[in-house]
Symmetry: none
Subunit: 404 residues, 2 copies
C-alpha cells in the first residue's frame, strides 16, 4: 500500500473533479484560449481558490487520454499502462478480465483484389452510421462467436468502429496490427511478435477470415481492420485505494471505460452537458467522488479551431460552472487531462491549469483569473497530475495524519 492509501479514511465530504478535455492551450495573438475567453464566473471562483499547474506525465511528455486520466485518478501513468483496445472495450460496456485480449476494430472497404479503398469504410464522404455498425456486428457475432477454444465477443462502437474481445487460454497481446496505415494496399496479416503469441495470431487471423467471408457480398464495409491489442492492467480500485465511492459522468466511451477500470460506477446520461450535471444532482447522495468529463474542448483544439475552443470555454463559464458551484461540493476541482493548444492542432506536453476550491485553501494574492499564466503563480504550485488526488483527499479531510 502506498503512503496515501494507508492514510485514507472515508467521510461524508464530497469531491467533484471536472475535467475539460484538452483544456490547456498556447497563445494566439498574445492570449491562450483560456486567457482570450470572457470567463467572469471562473475568474471569480479562481480568486477564492487555490490555483496551480499539473504536469500530466513528466516534463515534455505529451500524453494520450489514457495516461492523462489515470494520472488524474491518482495512478502512476508510467507504471500502469492501458492499451487502446482495452479502453475501447471498456467504453462499449465490456468488462474484460485480466486474461481477455482486446482489440480496436473497424469496418473498411476493399476492392476485388483485397486492396484497401477506404480504411474507415467511407463512401461518397459519408461514414458508416452507428446503426449500420450495430447490424454488421450482429452478423459477425453470429459467424464468429467462437474460434478453437476461444470465445469471441464483437461489440459495436460509434460509426465504423467496433471492439473484439477474445477470451480463452494461451492468448497474448504481442501481435502486429492489420491496419497498414494507408490505402491502396492490402490489409496485413496479423503476426505474432513473440513465440507465445502464435495461438493468438492464428485466432485473430481466423477471425478476420470469417468476417471477410460474412461481409464479402457487400460493396462497402466488406472487411475489417484490427489494432491496439491489449490485456487490461490490474488496477486496485478507488474504493480499495482511497475508500472512495466514485461515479463517472462522461458521454464518450473511452472515458467511461477508463473510469470503470478504476472502479467508478458509470452513470447513464445523454450527451448534453446539462443532462450530465443533472445526473450528478440526482446521484449526489450516493457517492463521495464525482468525475465529470467534457470532451468538446479537446475536439476544438484538435481541429485547430481557436475561436471554437474559446466559445466552448465561455459557454462552460456561463451555463455550466454556476450549476457545478450550486452542487455545493466540499471540494471542487476544475482542470484538464492535458493541453490541446489550437495552434498545435493536437495534444501537447504543456502543463494544465487547475483550480481547487475548498474552505481549506490559501487563495492567491493578486490573481483573479483562471488561466495558464495565472495558475503558474498559484498557491498550489506545479505538481505531478498523479499527486492531484492526494490534494483532493486532503482538502476533503479524507487523509489522517502521518506519524506522531
Amino acid at each position: 500500500m502506498s503512503l496515501i492509501e494507508n492514510l485514507a479514511v472515508q467521510n461524508e465530504q464530497k469531491i467533484l473533479l471536472v475535467v475539460l478535455d484538452g483544456l490547456g492551450g498556447l497563445p494566439k495573438a498574445g492570449k491562450t484560449e483560456l486567457e482570450a475567453a470572457w470567463t467572469p464566473n471562473l475568474d471569480r471562483l479562481a480568486a477564492a481558490s487555490g490555483l496551480g499547474l499539473l504536469v500530466p506525465v513528466a516534463p515534455g511528455v505529451t500524453p494520450g487520454s489514457g495516461p492523462a486520466h489515470l494520472a488524474l485518478f491518482g495512478y502512476d501513468p508510467v507504471e500502469f499502462q492501458v492499451g487502446r483496445g482495452v479502453l475501447e472495450a471498456l467504453g462499449v460496456g465490456l468488462s474484460p478480465g485480466p486474461h481477455d485480449l482486446c482489440a480496436r476494430a473497424n469496418f473498411c472497404t476493399v476492392d476485388a483484389e483485397g486492396k484497401l479503398i477506404s480504411r474507415r469504410a467511407v463512401s461518397e464522404g459519408r461514414r458508416l452510421t452507428t446503426e449500420e455498425c450495430v447490424q454488421l456486428c450482429t452478423s459477425l457475432s453470429r459467424v464468429a462467436s467462437g474460434i478453437e477454444d476461444v470465445e469471441v465477443v464483437v461489440r459495436p462502437g460509434k460509426e465504423h468502429r467496433f471492439v473484439v474481445m477474445f477470451s480463452g487460454a494461451g492468448l497474448a497481446a504481442e501481435l502486429s496490427d492489420s491496419d497498414p496505415g494507408h490505402e491502396g494496399v492490402a490489409a496485413e496479416g496479423i503476426r505474432p511478435l513473440t513465440e507465445g503469441a502464435v495461438k493468438a495470431a492464428r485466432i485473430a487471423n481466423e477471425f478476420v477470415r470469417l468476417c471477410r467471408a460474412e461481409l464479402s457480398t457487400r460493396e462497402r464495409a466488406n472487411s475489417v481492420l484490427l489494432r491496439g491489442w491489449a490485456f487490461p492492467p490490474v488496477l486496485a480500485t478507488l474504493r480499495e485505494r482511497y475508500k472512495l465511492s466514485a461515479a463517472c459522468i462522461a458521454a464518450y466511451p473511452m472515458y467511461r471505460g477508463l473510469a470503470r477500470l478504476v472502479g467508478m460506477d458509470v452513470l447513464e446520461c445523454d450527451e448534453t452537458w446539462d443532462d450530465e450535471i443533472e445526473q450528478i444532482r440526482l446521484n449526489r447522495s450516493r457517492y463521495d467522488f464525482f468525475f465529470i468529463h467534457l470532451k468538446e474542448f479537446d475536439k476544438a483544439g484538435e481541429d485547430g479551431d481557436f475561436d471554437r475552443k474559446v466559445e466552448l470555454i465561455e459557454r462552460f463559464d456561463g451555463d455550466i460552472l454556476p450549476q457545478l458551484v450550486d452542487l455545493d461540493m466540499d471540494v471542487l476541482c476544475i482542470t484538464g487531462d492535458h493541453s490541446t493548444p489550437a495552434v498545435m492542432g493536437g495534444h501537447s506536453w504543456h502543463s494544465v491549469p487547475f483550480l481547487l476550491h475548498s474552505r481549506y485553501v490559501r487563495p492567491q494574492v493578486q490573481v483573479d483569473q483562471f488561466a495558464e499564466r495565472a495558475c503558474a503563480r498559484g498557491s498550489l504550485g506545479r505538481i505531478a497530475a498523479k499527486d492531484l488526488m492526494a490534494l483532493l483527499l486532503a482538502h476533503s479531510l479524507k487523509l489522517t495524519k502521518f506519524g506522531a
Copy 2:
C-alpha cells in the same frame, strides 16, 4: 551513500536552522497568521533572502512532528519512521538502542472495579504535577526494575506522562495499546499482534500489574496506561552523513529526542526563548550546525487561537529575530516543520514557508514579506522538506562539485 552525502565536506561555515513549530497557516478574514502579523524584521530579512515553500512529506500529507522534523534534517520521512514511544523515550533523556522496546505511558485513575475514571489522572480539573510524576516514577522504578530477564527503565515526563523502556532478548513491538481511548471501561490487556510478540506482551502486562500493586492504595493516579510501542530506527548521524557537528536547542522533550536520534548534541537550557539563544551564543564555536526549536506557535494553532499565533509571531519578530541575526551565521534558515492553521485547530498538509539568508541567494523581485503567499513566488521554489538540508549545506559551501 546518497548523492549529497558523497559531496559533503566539513568547513568553518555555520548554519542556523530555526524551526517555528506549526508555522504555516491559512487565512482568517483574508490573511494567514504570518500575513496578519506585523513583522518588520522578518520582512526586511525576507527581502534580502531566498524564499520558498517546503512540502513536509508529500502533497496532501499531514505530518506528525516526527516525520516533519526528520525531513528537515534531511531524512526521507517515509523511509525512516520513528514510533511515538521512541520519540518520548529520547525526549526524557533515554538513549534506546535498536533492541530497546519503548512505550509512552501515563498515570491514570481507576475506580474500585478497575474502570477508568480519568485517563490522565485529572482530579478536580487539575493534572498531576511533574513533581508528583517524578515521585511516582521513583516508586515504580523500585518495584519494577526487572521482569524475567528484561531490564525495565521508568523515566518521568511532564505532568502525568512517563516512558518505559524494556531491554532484553526476544522483545517485539507488535503489541496493542492498553489505553482504550475513552473512560468508563477498564484498561485493556496488552495483546501480542504477532507470534513473536508473546514474550513482550507478557512482560508488559506484568509491568502493569506491578505498577497497579504499587499504586493501589492511592485514590488518584492509581494505575498506568501504555501505548506507542516501538524500537528506534537505525539512522546514520548528521556527522556520518554530512560531516556536520550539530547542536539542538529545544525546550520540549520530543524535539530533543529526535535531534539526539540523528546525532545532535542536545544543549541544556531553560524553557525561555532568550535562554535558548544564549545557549547558541555560548556554544557558537563548538558546532557548525544549530537547530533551534520554538514550540509555542504550534500550540496556539492547535488551540485554534489565531490571535495568539499572530502575537507569538510578532514577539518572535521583535525580540528574537534580531538576536538570531546578530549571531551572524553564514546560513540562517527560518521555517516550520509543518502548518498548524488556527482555523483548522491542528496540523495540516499545507506547504510551509521558508527563508534562507546567505550571501549566495538570489533574493526575490518585488517580495518584501515573509509569509505563505509571498514564499509561493520565492526564488527557491517549492521543494520537498527533505531537500532543505542540501540547500543549507550548499549555501554554506559544504557540498563539493558533482562530477567533472
